[in-house]
C-alpha cells in the first residue's frame, strides 16, 4: 500500500519517517494494522536485528493478513494483541526492564504511534530517538480541550466530542504527552452555526 503524504503543517504536528535499522542491544517494535508492512520493509534492510527484537502487533481490521509474515521474521519475542489498550501493560513491563541502547520502532496509525511513543518517553527515551513510520488509516486521536475526553479515530472536521457532545474543529496542534491533536469548539462565538463536516485531507 502506498504511504500517505501528510501536508506540511505547524511545528507541533508530528512528522513521520521511514524505519531504518539502528545499532542497539535490543529492539522494541510496536505496530498496528498496515504498520506491519513497515516492519517487513525494515526486515528487508537488516533481518539480523530481529534476533533481538520484541514485536508487539495489533492487527485491528487487517486480521491475519500480516501475522504469519511477521512471525517468519523470527523475532526473539512476538505478541499479537486484540487492541492497543490490551497491550499497554505488557509495553510498560518491557520498558521497565529495558536498558539504554534499546531501539524503539513504531509503525501504523498516528494514534498507536503517539500512545506507544508516550510510554517510551515516560520510560526515559527522548522522543527524537524513537523512530516512527505512518501506515494505514489517517484517522486522528483528538482531545477535547473543554472536557479533556479523547475521541479515537476521528475522520471528519468538525466532529462531535464522544464525551461532552460539543462540536469541535480539528487542529494540527499536537501534544505528545496526551498523544492527541487538539479539538476546539467550532461554534463558541456563534452557537449552532456548525459547518458541514468534511473528510480529513479531502
Amino acid at each position: 500500500m502506498s504511504k500517505f503524504q501528510f501536508p506540511e503543517s505547524i511545528r507541533s504536528r508530528p512528522v513521520y519517517g521511514t524505519l531504518e535499522p539502528r545499532p542497539g542491544k535490543a529492539h522494541l517494535m510496536i505496530a498496528d494494522a498496515e504498520g506491519a508492512e513497515a516492519l517487513l520493509d525494515l526486515a528487508a534492510q537488516d533481518a539480523a536485528i530481529f534476533r533481538a527484537a520484541h514485536i508487539i502487533y495489533i492487527p485491528k481490521d487487517t486480521g491475519d493478513t500480516y501475522v504469519d509474515r511477521l512471525k517468519a521474521l523470527e523475532p526473539a519475542q512476538f505478541y499479537v494483541g486484540p487492541t492497543y489498550e490490551a497491550s499497554v501493560q505488557r509495553i510498560r513491563r518491557v520498558l521497565s526492564d529495558a536498558h539504554m541502547g534499546l531501539q524503539v520502532y513504531l509503525a501504523g496509525t498516528e494514534g498507536l504511534m503517539g500512545q506507544a511513543q508516550n510510554e517510551a518517553m515516560t520510560a526515559g527515551i527522548p522522543h527524537s530517538a524513537i523512530q516512527t513510520e505512518h501506515r494505514g488509516s489517517v484517522a486522528r486521536r483528538m482531545q477535547c480541550v473543554h472536557c479533556k475526553g479523547i475521541t479515537e479515530d476521528v475522520m471528519t472536521d468538525p466532529f462531535v466530542c464522544s464525551h461532552c457532545g460539543l462540536n469541535l474543529f480539528v487542529r494540527d496542534h499536537y501534544s505528545r504527552r496526551l498523544a492527541a491533536f487538539q479539538g476546539v469548539c467550532v461554534d463558541a462565538e456563534d452557537p449552532g452555526n456548525v459547518p458541514e463536516p468534511v473528510e480529513l485531507y479531502k
Partner: protein, 328 residues
Amino acid sequence: MSAAPQKAKAGAEKIEVEVSAIVPLNDLVTRFEFTRRDGLPFPPFSAGAHTVVEMNDDGRTRLNPYSLMSDPADSTKYAISVRRDDEGRGGSLFMHRKVKVGDTMTITYPVNLFPLDLRGRKHVFLAGGIGITPFMAMIAYLERMGGAWELHYACRSEALGTYVDELTSRHPNKVHVYYDDKKQAIALEDLLDGQPLGTHVYVCGPQGMIQWVHKTAAAHGWPDENVHSEEFLAPQPGKPFEVRLCKSDITIQVGEHESLLEAIERCGVEAPFLCRGGACGQCETDVVEADGEFIHRDHWLDDDDHASGKKIMPCVSRFVGKTLVLDR
C-alpha cells in the same frame, strides 16, 4: 518598549570577592576559595555552572572561566580548582603565582552551560584530569537530593589524582579511578551496557575523550540527548592579524597571544560575551567582508555557518589573510 531601552551588558553580573583560602592539591592543581566582600550570601547555583574570573595581570585584563566546584548548597563561599598550564596564555600561571589570600578579585554570577538533566534516572560521570571539577558540585547536589550516580575518573597518576582521596573515601562504591601510568583505562563499552533507561552520561575532559564518549555511546544505541559534554576551549595563539570594526569605525591589530575578542575589548569596543570558551554563542559576530581563511575553533556555530564565512566567534577563532571586516 520603554522610553529608554537598556542595552544588554557584556558578560554576566559581577560579584566582588576576597580570596579566603588557597589550597595546593598537588603539583599542578590548586583550589581557590572566595568570600563576598559585601558580606551577603552568594547566590545559589546549579551544579555544572562556571564563573568567569577577572584577573588584573600587570594592567592586562584576563578573563578565564572555571567550573564552580564547591557545594551548591553552601552560600558562604565559592571555590574553583585551577590546573597550572605552563604552555598556556598565562591565566592559570597568574592564579598560581600571583594570587594571595586576602586579594580582592571580581568574578561573575554563575552561568551554567553543563547542567544536569534533572529528569535523569541515573547520572554517569566521566572525568579526565581537571575535568573532575564540575562533577564535584554535581555529586554534592545529587547526594543531597538522593539521586543515583557513579563516577569514572581517569588521572595521569596517583600523585596527580585531584580529589581522589576525598571522593573514594566518601563514596567507595560509586567512584572508580583509572591511572594512565598504570595502564588503566575506563571500560566505556562495559559501563554503557546495562544502564537503566533514562540514564544520562556526562563527560568533561580533553577533546579526544569527549569525542570517544560521544562516538562510543552512539554506536551502542544511546540517544545524543543523553550524552552531555563540556570542554572549555582556551584561545590558541596564532599569527597577528588586522581587523576592521565597521560600526566602531576603527581598525585594530590582534596580537599573537591575545584572542580577537580580547583585542576588540582592548581597543575600547564593548562586545557581548559569557563563556569566552566558544560554547555559549553570546559573542557571535557577523562578518561584513573577508579575504582570507578563518580558523574556526568554537562549538557554537554549525558547519554551514563555518563554511559560509559570514560569522565568527571572536572568543576562540582567528583569521589569516588580507582583509577582515566585522559588524562590531
